[in-house]
């Protein structure tokens, strides 16, 4: 009888073991939607360039399959083990970035990829994943020390080193900002006060405004854009894209045209005209504008709602994780996805200057896809450890 009751309890406990199907459904939905949009936005260009309309679609599909494999593997991976790899994750990120210097593959004027066994890898994406693991572990190790300016400063410097490396080695400012942003979000959640974040945020905004003002002042002086260099021109193009319509402002302007011309319900799936050679690499960072053009405001808001649901699921997992490390991991992932989605849409709608930020789950890109799915895998792993009876 007792054994029987015990067995029943065990059974019930097993059944109550949490698995976040909601999250999986949302992710699968996003992946399928992304695949469709990648095909829609890239087929014209792929056909022109490679003679095969499904070129990007297939590569993306392979990335997704690999990513899903990694996600499933990580779901059943005891994430607690990662806490012991805090230092290793940091070193992994640093080494990966350094590998670019000898093995880097240059494209579009920036070394961002390395080839390993015939597979191209974007170290910055793996660095983001590694930094989430590192930060979660580091915050755990810091304990209350994180609340002090000193502890806070130490980790911030460590993160800043990696960010700086990403920025200068791979000339990828956006990834550097994202890594820094992830760190700030994780700090924000794990420390009780608001003051320093307000100071920090205000300082950053002030610095950004100052930079913009300096660039604008210089540009209006002598020859435009040259003082700020590559990024200066971008900022000028951001302020007035139509004045730089044939140069730096081209991509932004074309994206705006796409969004504006989509209207409420869009032109219909596959009907985008802007993808026909006007938006460069429409399947990458600017894919959201094609979504807006084809599916309209309605489609865009639906997609954003999907991301909000995803983030909500992650919040719930973080709230209910069986340990703090798990929570912090999920918060990191949540921060990562939130930052990327917000910045991507902000770029497409020309709220911030144009910088290469992809839309998670949707944009074309193997490394980003695999890393993001790996992060989801970690979150699912955290979710699996949730004990239902605690509710």
């Amino acid at each position: 009888m007792a054994t029987n009751r015990f067995a029943l309890r065990k059974e019930a406990e097993k059944r109550l073991r949490y698995f976040d199907y909601n999250l999986v459904v949302i992710v699968i939905f996003l992946l399928i939607f992304g695949l469709v949009m990648v095909y829609s936005s890239s087929s014209y260009d792929a056909f022109l360039t490679f003679g095969n309309a499904t070129y990007y679609f297939r590569k993306q599909l392979i990335s997704i399959v690999v990513g899903l494999g990694i996600m499933i593997a990580l779901t059943f991976f005891p994430y607690q083990l990662l806490m012991r790899m805090t230092a290793a994750a940091y070193i992994f990120a640093a080494v990966l970035i350094f590998l670019i210097i000898p093995f880097g593959h240059e494209a579009n004027g920036a070394k961002r990829w390395i080839y390993l066994f015939g597979i191209s890898i974007q170290p910055a994406e793996y660095a983001k994943l590694a930094m989430i693991v590192f930060l979660a572990g580091a915050i755990m190790k810091m304990g209350r020390g994180i609340n002090t300016w000193k502890g806070f400063g130490i980790i911030l410097v460590l993160v800043g080193i990696i960010s700086g490396m990403v920025w200068f080695v791979t000339s990828n400012a956006s990834s550097a900002i994202i890594i820094f942003g992830i760190a700030l979000i994780m700090f924000f959640v794990s420390t009780p006060d608001y003051k320093r974040y307000i100071i920090l945020g205000g300082g950053l905004i002030l610095a950004a405004v100052l930079v913009v003002l300096v660039i604008v002042a210089n540009a209006s002086g002598s020859d435009a854009g040259n003082i700020g260099g590559y990024r200066g021109a971008r900022i000028l193009a951001w302020l007035d894209p139509e004045a730089y319509a044939s140069g730096k402002g081209f991509q932004t302007l074309q994206a705006l045209y796409a969004i504006g011309s989509g209207g409420l319900f869009g032109k219909g799936l596959g009907e985008s005209m802007q993808k026909l050679g006007f938006i460069p690499e429409a399947q990458n960072d600017m894919i959201f504008s094609v979504i807006c053009e084809e599916l309209g405001l309605f489609g865009a808001l639906a997609l954003m709602l999907l991301f909000v649901l995803l983030l909500w699921r992650l919040k719930i997992i973080a709230d209910n994780a069986s340990d703090m490390f798990g929570s912090l991991l999920v918060v990191g992932v949540m921060g990562h996805i939130a930052i990327q989605v917000i910045l991507n849409i902000a770029v497409v709608t020309n709220i911030i200057p144009n910088t290469g930020i992809s839309l998670p789950f949707i944009s074309y890109g193997g490394s980003a896809m695999i890393c993001t799915l790996a992060e989801i895998g970690l979150c699912l792993s955290v979710a699996r450890r949730i004990r239902m009876r605690d509710y």
């Binding site: 190790k141 794990s190 969004i259 703090m324």
Partner: protein
């Protein structure tokens, strides 16, 4: 600080952290909301503008798709004019410059296929790197276009050939170049027809350009629409290309024979010929000489030998002109050559004295100063176009000369018809009942009308002549009597009925108005009626004459002459059949039969003036004409023959006019034989072609001639030869004999009329025969006299110089609505 880990118990998320996570989530949510608002603002504020922008970026500029101008066919469907697709080579520099690898292969391909100078293209590309539309070559052929496309498809370099595309265009082509130039006409660059059928049927031949364009539908979606071009309709002419080419061959042959004969000029100022079906009004051939190449109508070499006109389009008179400083450099102009033609009278005297035209006499008579002295050089204006006079022409004068070349002589030029009008006078008198046909008139060689003594061409008089003989011998006196019997009201009423003074409304551009060139009852005096009776004093066009003449010989039905029988769409379905239209009944069938009878005599009769027009194996009827041009006494004539075949049942009518043959003047050589010989040559080939079978016996000479021309003897095919016709065959045979003998007439054939002609009334039969020309020479005047009829050759009449209603011109030239083409 390491306690969290070292405790061994994993601390869970604290409520504070949850709170902060919630704050974070709210911040994220706020950001999303902000983004959503931003999206909405873009769609709301800039939506339409951006949508337009998107559409305007699409290259949907409207493109004109050219229509194809309709073809012109002859009655058998042979192409007279057609439009063929050609291609313009367009370069898109900006596309070419997108990659360095494109430039060289593209330029090489352009050079190898179209022979385009690469350095020029390079220069253009450097100067206009953003140009998207530069025409590199115009009107390249389909083959060349294909060759270029093949290069583009080639394995190695083909993919680097960029930025070149082709634009369609149609070019008008005339496969027969000069054939039928005056009836067909040509088109200027913008597909506008000039002259002839091209102008008259311009709106039929023209289609509507198509367009390819994009527009926004109500959902602001781009719709691409192609409105295809509507091709023009094609027309089938009544012209038969074979007959037309035969006619043109003999006109050109005549020109070859008499070119530079007396004057350094064409064989005649103009030679025109019309062949028409008498029972439909269908024009089978309409030709003139000189001709021009329809594919290159502005080629000035076709002008050489033509009568020159000045800047106002009036014929040059040979007045002295002063060379401007522009052409004072005597290296460019040979003064001898410039003035190679002197005034007509000088030339005429030369011709008279020397018999054959001397060409070099003119040069000494020029009023030139020494070119080296620097004084103005005086030259005599050239009467005929030469290479030298071409060099002296300014653009406007040249254009006037071209314009006179392009004009259709057969419908545009008015002239006094001369004796070919006599059948009309007789028909008017017969049909109105003014005469019965049984009258006899005494010809004493002249008739005094008012103050004027109007001579007959046989100044010795023919004595008493029947109406038939008046026509046969072309007696002016008899005709004057007949016209007087009519009276001017009736005469003019019939002139109107025959269409003189009215346009025929033939479907060709440029027919002249002649309303002011004929008399009205109030303006006509007795002398005018007298001269009108034999075709002087009023002006006509060739098409008027032959249209009226057809009605005389077909039983009185006046058909509207026309050139086009059918209008079809570009895919060949018929839009309109143009049926023959009878406009009126001019004379009764009885009158028509009588006129035919008289006109047959012109060819068959012993004294007939048109014997030389009869082709081997056929019997035809007709009337000759020799009209003196204005001013009277200048010795220039328009000779003509208007006839029909076969004689008993006419199917076709033919009219040949030789305007001022290049044979000198007082030599009296300009007689109707110049026209009748052309008619004979043409009919010899055309009648068998039209499946009209031979009815007349052939002499050995004629058999040899037919063999030479490779024409079959078609006697055997005609199973319907009746006894009656056989009889006429015999008669013809007799006439033949008399003609070949060329001696005094065979008395027996002329029958009873013979008795009324006293022997001593034919004094010319005793005149000495000139060995060169075969004519008798009148010892009193020195003029040539026809040994058979006694007619003074070339002196059809000695007309009073007054009372001619020619209002505008002194001489034969175009009047009325001649087309005007801008250069």
């Amino acid at each position: 600080m390491a306690s969290l880990y070292n405790d061994g118990k994993l601390k869970r998320f604290t409520p504070k952290m949850r709170k902060k996570l919630l704050v974070l989530f709210i911040i994220i949510l706020a950001a999303f909301v902000g983004l959503g608002i931003r999206l909405y603002m873009i769609a709301r504020n800039n939506g339409e503008e951006y949508a337009r922008q998107v559409l305007s970026q699409q290259e949907y500029d409207s493109v004109t798709i050219p229509y194809r101008r309709g073809d012109i066919y002859d009655c058998n469907g042979m192409i007279l004019a057609s439009s063929n697709k050609v291609y313009n080579v367009i370069l898109d520099c900006s596309l070419l410059l997108t990659d360095d690898a494109y430039l060289e292969p593209t330029l090489n391909a352009l050079n190898s296929v179209f022979k385009i100078d690469t350095s020029e293209v390079r220069q253009y590309i450097t100067a206009n790197p953003s140009s998207k539309y530069k025409v590199l070559a115009k009107r390249v052929s389909y083959e060349d276009m294909l060759a270029f496309e093949d290069l583009k498809k080639a394995e190695e370099t083909g993919s680097n050939i960029k930025g070149v595309w082709f634009e369609d265009e149609y070019v008008r082509q005339y496969p027969n170049s000069t054939l039928g130039c005056d009836i067909i006409g040509f088109t200027s660059g913008d597909n506008i027809g000039n002259f002839g059928l091209e102008q008259y049927y311009n709106s039929v031949l023209s289609g509507t350009n198509g367009r390819e364009y994009g527009y926004l539908n109500e959902d602001s979606d781009l719709e691409r629409t192609v409105i295809p071009a509507e091709d023009g309709y094609s027309i089938y002419s009544t012209i038969d290309i074979n007959i037309q080419s035969t006619v043109e061959k003999y006109l050109a042959e005549f020109n070859e024979e008499y070119k530079n004969n007396v004057n350094i000029a064409n064989g005649a100022e103009n030679i025109g010929c019309i062949i028409m079906e008498v029972d439909t009004g269908n024009v089978l051939a309409m030709a003139q000489y000189p001709v021009y190449d329809l594919n290159n109508p502005r080629d000035t070499s076709a002008l050489i030998g033509a009568r020159q006109v000045d800047i106002k389009g009036v014929k040059t008179t040979g007045k002295p002109i002063e060379l401007t400083s522009l052409v004072q450099n005597n290296e460019t102009i040979d003064p001898d050559a410039v003035a190679d033609i002197s005034g007509t009278s000088d030339e005429a005297e030369n011709a008279d004295e020397n018999g054959d035209g001397e060409e070099e006499d003119a040069e000494n008579s020029e009023n030139t100063t020494n070119p080296a002295s620097g004084e103005p050089q005086m030259f005599t204006e050239s009467l005929y176009v030469t290479e030298e006079s071409l060099a002296l022409m300014d653009d406007d004068t040249l254009y006037q000369n071209l314009n006179s070349l392009w004009k259709n002589f057969c419908i545009n030029t008015t002239y006094e018809p001369g004796s070919v009008a006599k059948p009309f006078t007789v028909a008017a008198a017969l049909d109105s009942g003014s005469i019965t046909g049984d009258e006899y008139y005494n010809c004493e060689g002249f008739l005094e009308v008012g103050d004027h003594k109007i001579k007959c061409h046989n100044t010795y008089g023919d004595g008493y002549l029947s109406v038939a003989q008046c026509v046969e011998r072309s007696c002016n006196v008899g005709l004057m009597h007949i016209a007087f019997a009519c009276g001017k009201e009736t005469f003019l009423k019939y002139q109107h009925a025959f269409g003189f003074g009215l346009k025929t409304n033939i479907d060709l551009a440029g027919e002249s108005r002649t309303a002011s060139l004929v008399y009205t009852p109030s303006s006509m005096r007795q002398t005018d009626l007298a001269t009108n009776s034999f075709g002087q004093g009023f002006n006509v066009t060739m098409i008027q004459m032959i249209s009226g003449f057809c009605s005389l010989v077909n039983g009185g039905n006046f058909y509207e002459p026309h050139m086009v029988s059918k209008i079809v769409t570009s895919d060949g379905s018929t839009i309109e059949n143009i049926e023959p239209r009878v406009l009126k009944q001019t004379v009764s069938r009885t009158t028509s039969d009588k006129i035919k009878e008289y006109c047959n005599l012109v060819v068959t009769g012993e004294y007939g003036t048109g014997k030389t027009a009869r082709p081997a194996g056929y019997m035809i009827g007709g009337k000759t004409g020799t009209a003196e041009t204005l001013p009277r006494g200048n010795g220039e004539y328009v000779v003509s023959f208007m006839g029909y075949a076969p004689a008993d049942d006419p199917e076709i009518a033919i009219y040949v006019v030789v305007d001022r043959p290049n044979v000198g003047t007082w030599g009296a050589q300009a007689d109707a034989k110049y026209a009748t010989r052309i008619v004979r040559s043409i009919l010899t080939e055309v009648l068998p072609y039209l499946h009209i079978y031979m009815t007349e016996p052939l002499s050995d000479k004629e058999i040899a001639e037919l063999e030479e021309k490779n024409i079959e003897d078609t006697h055997g095919y005609n199973s319907d030869i009746s006894d009656e016709q056989s009889e006429s065959d015999e008669n013809a045979g007799d006439a033949d004999t008399s003609e070949s003998q060329e001696t005094s007439g065979d008395e027996n054939t002329t029958g009873e009329t013979e008795e009324e002609i006293p022997e001593n009334d034919e004094p010319w039969k005793e005149f000495a025969i000139d060995p060169n020309t075969g004519y008798a020479i009148d010892p009193d005047t020195g003029a040539y006299v026809d040994p058979v009829t006694g007619a003074t050759i070339g002196l059809d009449s000695d007309l009073p110089d007054t009372g001619v209603p020619v209002t505008a011109d002194e001489s034969v030239s175009a009047v009325g609505d001649a087309p005007d083409v801008t250069q």
